[in-house]
Subunit: 363 residues, 2 copies
Amino acid sequence: MNITRREFSRLVVLSAGVQLLPRISALAEDRTIGYCIVGLGRISMQHFMPALKMSKKARVTALVSGHRDKAERMAAEYGVPSSSIYNYENYDAIAKNPNIDAVYIALPNSMHAEYTIRGAKAGKHVLCEKPMATTVEEARAMVLASETANRKLMIAYRCQYEPVHLRAVQLIREGKLGTIQSIESAFGFPIGPNEWRLDQKLSGGGPLVDVGIYCLNASRYLTGEEPAELKGFSSVVDRDGRFAQVEETLSWTMKFPGGALASCTCTYGSAMRGYFRVRGSSGTITVDPAFNYDNPRLVAQFEGGGTEELAPAEPDPAQFLREADHFADCILLNQQSKTPGEEGLRDVSLIAQIYRSCERRNS
Amino acid sequence: MNITRREFSRLVVLSAGVQLLPRISALAEDRTIGYCIVGLGRISMQHFMPALKMSKKARVTALVSGHRDKAERMAAEYGVPSSSIYNYENYDAIAKNPNIDAVYIALPNSMHAEYTIRGAKAGKHVLCEKPMATTVEEARAMVLASETANRKLMIAYRCQYEPVHLRAVQLIREGKLGTIQSIESAFGFPIGPNEWRLDQKLSGGGPLVDVGIYCLNASRYLTGEEPAELKGFSSVVDRDGRFAQVEETLSWTMKFPGGALASCTCTYGSAMRGYFRVRGSSGTITVDPAFNYDNPRLVAQFEGGGTEELAPAEPDPAQFLREADHFADCILLNQQSKTPGEEGLRDVSLIAQIYRSCERRNS
């Protein structure tokens, strides 16, 4: 059976946080949330900012960039006054800008902690890209800084707001798969040379922190559990200079308290379309592609022959719009986001454990 | 591009062991190999014996069973004289039967060693189902017994004779994928209660020894290497009494000397269509389904956009015919099979290592 239009609409509502809606509708007319975009790279300029153009709840009100020319161009496009363009030195001056409610941190990973903490100290809410940080200590400091400043911190786990992923979780919670036995997931792409992602100081790791984190995070929200144990291996096979500092490929296995085993693989070595497959005692769900910016596709097969397909046509940047609006709702209603700093911290901590496991020889 | 008929024919020839063919064609007219079937279970009666009906090189000449009635019925069907029906007590009397060249061991795993060794001592070549044995010691004793008796021992790794698998290996060896980075593979089925496979004493293990061995063996022939390290987890989630003695699901990762990482999952808990996916720096090969008795399907994608598909229509028991004929050729020409006892021993040894790893906590 295919999902009906009505069921899909219900999922979309669910994904926006259905409990918030009645109050939002009144509030949303009053004001919108102003985002200060920190870092004008691909994810900001091609995805997050275009999403805000479509938003009724949020808009771009300020920019932070080391490239004034680029910032001026984007400011013109988004109607941001020149006085609301900042650089990395005078970033703290955002404190005095009442048009900024929140900052969106889209910098190399190693800068997430500093700019999140400075943002919170400037009195702003923070939406930070994943991985939240390059160390557990940084991630803890970010959570603490947000708490101390009484500001919100959300990590940009867009898939946790995406209807196809939410449907997978819903089917599992409703028991349609029985008990979860195993998860297989992979994600990767062939990285070019000279990317900041290959610089350990900037990235804090290789494909694990960048794309493997999708498999990790999905395994956690699909099972609804935290892994009890994990074991991994990392490797480099392409000796062309790209992988002098970070791993090329990493495979790891996690065991969850309920007994589910998750096998995950990530790579910078080849095109590995992101997917996951969840198998239970009474059914299987495959989402493939799963982690792209658009067109996720769910196929579920249940014991007894039932099936379900869900492949909504939602072009990019719908997923970014959803996460930007969710955080705007949280700010307007003073509620915690679904993916707060603590959620990012868990992944950062698990990533550190996976790297430690890779260093151990266990054969 | 799809593979041409001529190319496929070449693969089929390759799979029969091309170097043997010129001499076989002369020999094959002279005589056929007589197989004594040891154990009249599903794999014998529904697959191996029907395959021999199609063979020009081999035939069923004797039976060993604990069920005389069943043996009489099968003997009638295959033209086996009553005098060539044995039971487990008088099995050694096959030594005096000149119509038996080889025995085919299709018994519960824990009986493989004894009946292989007794077969070799009776002067017969042995084709033994996988897993070869339940312990490394047994497997070593089997190899030794065959050597001592100067008889051949082949393990029934049918996929190593199958054109789609051989094409995958060929593409890899020709460098079409560049360097192998990762392998993902899984295989499983929902087991019924009361199967001998669930009895540790008979099976020697759960899905790992039964279906996971396909993923393990494939990872080895695809890379052409032996794993340098491995780490695994096993689990039981269905507490319905089936998994009191063996694992329900097992996931493990292997690191190969060349750097390839293989992630494998096997289960008795759900239908997990057997597949493998090999990713390299310049291409990907998926064989899905891979391990069924029929209809394997290969899809390869190469850097630059080239593709290849191979999905020959070869109904069961073609794969059994091929392995039976390969061993017949080996006997006729006094050559070593492609999957001798040593090949089975390697898997048995790795399986023991995987189980030991599952007992260790490594988080």
